[in-house]
């Protein structure tokens, strides 16, 4: 093991990890916003929009992020829409994640019995009050586990960003392997940094799942 190599290139990995996280978090926030918007459209059965929503969800869930990114990054400029690589990455992640979040929210709402809604109506709650006090708090609890699973999934998907030349962890590792042939060290650091990013959120997910079981 070449410890000198590891110490020397540690900052490079650190920066790459920060970049990955930055893009990842912004993308995930947008994904959640898109997901919520789509859920509201589906819940209220808004005409036209709900058909578009359905098509978008199918399209986004049934294509790989890599081709989504390639199309945005290399394809769109040809029709006059040029977007910076980092923006592309955020856009791609939001495009992919929006549908996953929407599906999770939808199943959260569906998991709540119709009669819960009726019992709220029986007590005189209005439609809006029923959603705010009765349906949403329960739906979020039910979906929480799925939301965290989506966040983990999306953070893992960020690994393809190097394909549109973003200097993320994969890019750094591949670069170092190409230049120095310190394959083992480069890969080890790659794994370590992904663990640093993904372990905490995974553990939070497990803890939440446990807590939900016993309440």
């Amino acid at each position: 093991m070449d410890y000198e190599f590891i110490i020397k290139f540690l900052p490079l990995y650190k920066n790459a990890a920060i970049l990955t996280l930055k893009i990842g978090i912004i993308g995930i926030i947008f994904a959640i916003i898109i997901g919520l918007a789509l859920t509201i459209i589906t819940f209220y059965q808004v005409p036209v929009l709900r058909n578009i929503t359905k098509f978008y969800i199918e399209l986004s869930r049934n294509t790989p992020l890599l081709i989504q990114l390639f199309f945005i990054y290399y394809g769109l400029p040809k029709v006059g829409i040029s977007i910076k690589a980092e923006m592309c990455a955020i856009l791609g992640l939001a495009f992919l994640g929006g549908s996953y979040m929407a599906e999770t929210f939808r199943s959260g709402i569906e998991a709540i019995d119709v009669i819960q809604k009726e019992s709220a109506y029986s007590l005189g709650f209005s439609k809006l009050q029923t959603i705010i006090y009765i349906i949403l708090p329960q739906a979020i609890r039910v979906s929480l586990h799925g939301i965290i699973a989506n966040i983990i999934f999306l953070l893992k998907e960020t690994s393809v960003f190097s394909a549109i030349s973003i200097m993320d962890l994969m890019f750094t590792a591949k670069d170092l392997i190409g230049i120095y042939y310190n394959t083992i060290e480069a890969l080890l650091m790659l794994v370590l940094f992904y663990l640093i990013i993904l372990l905490p959120i995974s553990i939070i997910g497990i803890l939440i799942e446990r807590k939900m079981k016993y309440v």
């Binding site: 009669i115 009726e118 109506y121 007590l123 709650f125 009050q129 006090y133």
Partner: protein, 255 residues
Amino acid sequence: MLDENKKEVILEISHLHKKYDENFAIKDLSLKLHKREVVVLVGSSGCGKSTLLRCINLLEDVQGGEIKLCGETISNRKSNLSEIRQKIGMVFQNYELFPHKNVLDNIILAPIKVQKRKKEEVIEDAKVLLKRVGLEGKAYSMPSQLSGGQKQRVAIVRALCMNPEILLFDEVTASLDPEMTREVLEVILELADMGKTMLVVTHEMQFARAVADRIVFMDEGSIIEATIPEDFFESPNSEKVKAFLDTFTYKQKRK
């Protein structure tokens, strides 16, 4: 009994029709409930008794006839549903407590948010009612920590705390074992003693006999017989009632 005309009418249903697609769930049904009266609805499953409660509580549209609450027509109302529902307390078969709120919050949420009453005052009321049903120690438990009978008593308190004009009970003991059934039914008996106006759907015949001022027997969406408990159980007029009551008795096989 007092002269009927002198008593205040709480609920008046006249010639009610309710259809699901092309099938009648309720057919030309008329029923009057006076203040402090307890009416028990019986009949085999699918006879329309639960549907009737849902119609009264405006959870279903009706296709004909009229429902009046305290003199005001409420059927097929599209606005101010909340105002009417506040006057009607409904208790469901499967309790339908809000699983994310503790017992006290389940009870006080609607009085505070819907009736805009003061929190302290509502909490006081809630605690008095909880004590009355023997659950003063459970105010801060989550619904998942309670037994079925306890949940149902909380659901009753939740409905009571709104001070409704009438209480509707929809097979509230159908998911409970005999012991728990008893603890819930005793609460309802006590409410009858307190003079609450109630419309109760149940399969517990002994209880029906004990609590009812009048028993209403429904079949295929219509009322077949409506009479005082003694007559209903001892000398029913209709063959359908006789057949129905027979399902509750067993003949000894061995001689």
